[in-house]
């Protein structure tokens, strides 16, 4: 009988204890975020979708080579100064966000963006193109400098280029001034 009464008392007390806890939560502000309207503040090194800054990219192909799942497609045409990149695409169906391309990129063209919500209805649309064939990106240092694209240590490179041009110009001047300064030289071969 005492056990019976104690059971009833325990049941009532524990029920009220539980209701007290849930009632407390009723007054608290919910912890959920209204996702599309409110968002988390992303950490600085958030590994979001990888983007390629085509202004900085010179198609060195290191990212495509280091990619473990081969999701980066780079297509170029021409050689040396005429080498142009007409396609840089990342297939996010394959991408595993390992970040190796970002670590490898010498010009910091490959970067993690802060984007992450790219759910789509069609998986073919997850292949993102960063360039258009109509506007190919120059790859050679000199053509890049001429067309105003990013080159590491641009000032030095520009100075070098200017020096080289000057030298060429001087050479040409010398050639015009003395049409045949040393005819023997050409016959060395």
């Amino acid at each position: 009988m005492t056990q019976y009464l104690r059971d009833i008392k325990d049941a009532v007390v524990s029920a009220f204890k539980g209701m007290g806890i849930t009632s407390k939560h009723l007054a608290k502000k919910p912890v959920t975020l209204q996702y599309p309207d409110e968002r988390w503040v992303l950490p600085e090194r958030f590994k979001g979708f990888i983007i390629n800054d085509t202004h900085r990219c010179d198609a060195c192909l290191r990212c495509a080579k280091v990619c473990p799942v081969d999701c980066i497609y780079i297509e170029t045409t021409g050689k040396a100064k005429d080498r142009y990149m007409y396609r840089y695409a990342i297939d996010y169906n394959k991408c595993i966000w390992c970040g190796l391309c970002v670590a490898e990129c010498p010009t910091d063209a490959c970067q993690h963006s802060l984007d992450y919500d790219h759910a789509l209805y069609d998986r073919t649309r997850l292949v993102y193109e960063f360039t258009s064939p109509a506007k190919p990106i120059p790859c050679h240092k000199e053509t890049r400098l001429e067309q105003g694209y990013y080159v590491p240590n641009a000032d030095e490179e520009r100075a070098k280029l200017a020096a080289k041009k000057e030298a060429e110009l001087k050479k040409a001047e010398d050639e015009t001034a003395a049409p045949d300064p040393s005819p023997d030289e050409g016959k060395v071969e």
Binding site: I8, A15, M19, T22, S23, H25, L26, P30, Q34
Partner: protein, 349 residues
């Protein structure tokens, strides 16, 4: 009913014969009560989801209809209307189609004797309270029919459990209301509410300690009677898929759902009328009686939701133990105790 027939005579003049007046008044009232039931389902599904959400530190529906997802029930209803109506091949078709309506009508009939406001009662029966408990016991029949006709083992388990539970808990439910009947000396719902007029101290919940206990027992038994957590044995999602309505889809399922939420409100309305003074406010004269009644009933509904989202489900044996070994003796004690109380305090003499 009086107010409705009065309104009808005002609209159509005195030309109506008493019979026509009775039938049209009854139909009007039935329509109003069906609408009340539908509104219950609409309002309380939204409320249930919001309460459940906030109890768990989340929001619940937020997207449909601007402010806090107020149009979510409408979206749910449209979804349910668009569902395919599936009747299993092996089901007993006639019973399968009939059972949602049996449950629905059992619930609708009980509304006839609920006094929402002075004069606003579908049928002012002398045996009002008795009538309510009598017709609401049609629900186990509907549940058994649904479970049997589905020809599904989960549905049958759920139905058997549900019927056993509802039949058992009807006893403490009715016994808990008996002290009030003793105090009033009537089963008429209007008389019960009228006897509680004039401030909170005249409500039966504070009449004597035994009546307070009776109210608590009524509240617990009513949760079990409407098959909600922690007594949701007939449904037990984790064990029986969905219990007796496992095989139901679309509008047939909606009828079960409608009846569940209507019953939830019904037992709260009975508790309001019987224990909490019906349309009488806490103090002062009767003011907006319908609104006062609704507020009290909705507070009770909220309490039932709080209980549902707090307490874990009981095992079947615990459920039966609670009913037969705890609640029935305690309600009998209430009947005896309040009888002695009334004799000692001189009310009976």
């Amino acid at each position: 009913m009086e107010s409705i027939t009065g309104l009808l005579t005002k609209i159509f003049g005195d030309g109506m014969s008493p019979m026509a007046l009775l039938i049209s008044g009854g139909l009007t009232m039935a329509l109003i009560m069906s609408l009340v039931m539908a509104m219950c389902a609409i309002v309380f599904t939204w409320m249930e989801r919001k309460v459940a959400g906030f109890l768990q530190s989340r929001y619940g529906p937020m997207r449909v209809g601007g402010f806090h997802g107020v149009l979510q029930p409408v979206a749910d209803m449209l979804k349910i209307l668009g569902k395919e109506d599936i009747i299993p091949d092996e089901a007993d078709k006639a019973l399968f189609m009939l059972s949602p309506f049996v449950i629905f009508i059992g619930s609708l009939m009980a509304w006839a004797a609920i006094p929402f406001a002075p004069g606003f009662i579908a049928s002012n029966l002398d045996l009002g309270l008795f009538y309510i408990f009598a017709v609401s016991s049609a629900a186990p029949a509907g549940i058994l029919m649904a479970g049997w006709a589905s020809n599904n083992k989960w549905a049958l388990y759920g139905a058997a459990r549900g019927a056993a539970q509802m039949v058992s808990y009807e006893i403490p439910l009715a016994l808990a209301a008996i002290p009030v009947v003793m105090a009033t000396g009537s089963l008429n719902m209007n008389a019960i509410v009228d006897a509680q007029g004039g401030g909170v101290l005249n409500w039966y919940i504070v009449h004597d300690p035994f009546l307070f206990l009776a109210f608590c027992l009524y509240f617990i038994a009513s949760i079990a009677e409407v098959n909600r957590g922690p007594f949701d044995m007939p449904e037990t999602e984790s064990e029986l898929v969905a219990g007796y309505h496992t095989e139901y889809t679309g509008m047939r399922f909606a009828f079960f759902f409608l009846a569940e939420y209507a019953n939830l409100f019904l037992v709260s309305c009975i508790a309001t009328a019987v224990f909490l003074g019906g349309w009488h406010p806490i103090a002062g004269p009767v003011f907006l009686p319908g609104l006062v009644f609704l507020i009290k009933a909705v507070i009770l509904v909220f309490l039932q939701m709080l209980v549902r989202w707090t307490l874990p489900r009981l095992r079947v044996d615990q459920l039966m133990h609670t009913c037969w070994k705890v609640m029935v003796p305690l309600t009998l004690l209430c009947v005896l105790g309040s009888g002695i109380w009334m004799m000692v305090s001189g009310e009976l003499l």
